[in-house]
């Protein structure tokens, strides 16, 4: 099969829900609205001085423990580097989050498909344009919801 790995058809339903506990209810760790990166403002109170998770749209669906392990304690923005338009705005928003909202850290969560690395590139460009420096982390999620890498960039 050839073509774009980001839109290639793969069925891994046979592997679904192989392990893990499903007992008890898991509360949402979302503490804000809106979340789409075009809709959020860096001036929003929930960004000021916080740890930010910039997640590619697909990650929350792929990663079973997205809320518990990655969203908890963070403010969120979501985006798709393949389909979203006007992505220059995203670079300016990251710069503003760092310089104006004085965020503590930025974690960028992307899928393993090549097009998704565009979001990490946007985050890097925004961070480089900012005058403040903060730690930026890249987390790569596999198609089957496993964490492939997690490193400071």
């Amino acid at each position: 099969m050839s073509g774009c790995p980001g839109s290639k058809t793969i069925d891994f339903s046979a592997n679904a829900n192989q392990e893990g506990s499903e007992t008890g209810k898991r509360p949402s760790q979302l503490r804000q609205w809106p979340i789409q990166f075009h809709l959020v403002s860096p001036q929003a109170p929930y960004f000021q001085g916080r740890d930010i998770l910039l997640a590619a749209d697909c990650t929350a669906f792929a990663l079973g423990d997205f809320h518990k392990d990655y969203l908890k304690g963070k403010s969120l923005a979501i985006a798709c580097p393949k389909l979203d338009s006007d992505q220059d705005v995203y670079i300016e928003k990251i710069k503003s989050l760092i310089d104006d909202a004085k965020i503590n850290t930025l974690s960028v969560m992307i899928m393993q498909v090549p097009c998704c690395f565009g979001l990490a590139q946007i985050a890097k460009e925004g961070a480089e344009k900012a005058s403040r420096k903060i730690p930026v982390k890249q987390i790569v999620v596999g198609l089957e919801g496993n964490i492939l890498s997690e490193e400071w960039i």
Partner: protein, 264 residues
Amino acid sequence: MKDILTRDIRKVIDDCPEVGRILEEYKIGCAPCSVGSCLLKDVVGIHNLDPQQEATLMYRIEKAIYPSRNIKPPVVDPTKKVEPKKLTYSPPVKKLVDEHVLIKRLLALVPAIIEFTEKSPKVDKALILNCVDFIRTYADKYHHMKEEDILFKYVDEKSEIIQIMYKDHITGRNHVKQVVEGAETGNKAQIKEHLFGYRDLLTQHIKKEDEILYPWIDRQLSTAQVGEMFRRCNEADASVGDALPKKYEAFIQELERKLLKEVK
């Protein structure tokens, strides 16, 4: 096995030197440690070995201590290749690792400093005191203080590994005092003994930090703590200004140039 895990590593190695040799094979350098009060379980835990490696190591240690005991060897999958772990650091810890590089450049010059001192008719007091100034200001005040005031506060300061680091800092400061005394009185032997003592101490100290302590601390830090520590380290650096690291980098460059020319 539980009783061995909670014993001081020094006592374990003294009772069974083979344990020290086994640990060396896994690049766990407890045998030459002067303190050795870490518990075996902490020593193994802090090195973050691959699960297969850790199981084999523990089996070999138990077998070395109790050769007649019937212990089942761990099941190791030979098809599972153990890749050496790549050292990665969070940004504030990486900055501390980078600062080690300049300190290691001074340590590398110590034999040349001693050779130059021994060849000179009398001690070049300014040279020795300038090296002491680098150690006291750059290595100790600028670098070690960030460790003591910021980094170590994020873990249990009473843990053995942190206590060993504090002890190394104190031992290093005592070597430096002796070097100053040697420079003041023109005692070349005293300078040689304590400058080499400082070099040997710091070489091991930096290796322990880069390879063991810093990755261990990083594994315990939350993302929020990394951000906070980054900010606090930047504030500490800003309080002394950009000029200080630049001044000492220029000093090391000049010292390298001078000693490479004088000592051949």
